[in-house]
Amino acid sequence: MTPISPSPLLRQGLCLLALVASSALPTAVTAHHSFAIFDQTRTITVKGVVQRFAWTNPHIAIYLDTPGPPPQQIKIETGSVNALSRTGWTADSIKAGEDAEVTYKPLKNGEPGGLLVEIKIGDVVLTGGG
């Protein structure tokens, strides 16, 4: 599936907004649960295909199928709908079937998943946040 990219202007706006959003991360993630479940000392980047985008509270989640080896699905959590809406995210920002590169802080328990740092889809970069 071909990714649908926003206009260059919107793209630039999203990136700028995402940078602003990153400062709100600690507060709002803690709003619902502690982010001590994530290993903040490690950062992993993987490429894959978005299988599902859950635009939900208390957290937005991205399910990404990665080729591996071994092939596996990783579950990436980020902030709330409310907080990320304020930074330019929408329910259509990410779509199932899109190729994506995801950078995240992994779960401490070793399961495939973590806390979103940023997701790149085409030229669009969305930063995780509260």
Partner: protein, 255 residues
Amino acid sequence: MKPTRTLNPATMLLGVALMAFAGMNAAATPKSQGTATRPDISGTWERTPDDWFGENPDNPVHPGGPMDLKEPYASEYAALKKREAAANEAGTPLATTSARCLPEGMPVLMAALFPIQIIHDDQQVVVLGEYLQQVRRILLNEAMPPKEKLDPTYQGHSRGHWEDDTLVVETLAVRTDVAFYDVPHGKDMKITERIRLTTPDHLVDEVLIEDPQVLNRPYRFTFEYKRSDYRIQEYVCENNQIVIDSEGKTSLRRD
């Protein structure tokens, strides 16, 4: 022809007398005084300064400094902090009420982790917290019912009145499973707030917590807010991904 009705002089005199009495009565009530002097605190408010939550969001700072707790609460709080640190290190932080999608309750609602909206008229002040769609109702110019008549709730039972430019609010009967950043409280805890504008766009809430069961002395702090043009949005906690084990430790669901 439509009948006409005329008032005889006696009826008119009675009417004037009733109107005059009604006016005097209204002028004597706090409600009327409040209406005349009541500042407009309605709108959306966000906490200020921006770093109010402290350096470690997993261990929010109590806004009035460390709380002076009686025993056994002081020891229990210290032990909880140790358990929390160990659980955090292991990546299985202890569950809070928020991790269960339950309301923060008072006074944490007023900490405004997400923005709050205030709506008010002559009868009540309503505080809407965006986070978890919390609602707090402060009834104005009504006596607080006897505390034995108050069933515990997350936001407690609040009664308020205006003293010049200040909204004074008392809150009782906050559920005892509501914690103030891990500090418990007794069933007789009383929260007194003095809420006022310092400028049209800056609001302060001076809070006093009296809790002889848990606190050695009353605890005071001030929440400050800046006016915001943000419009509060829906927040339904419909997709809680947190799994809580029998020890209260949390992990993220796989599916």
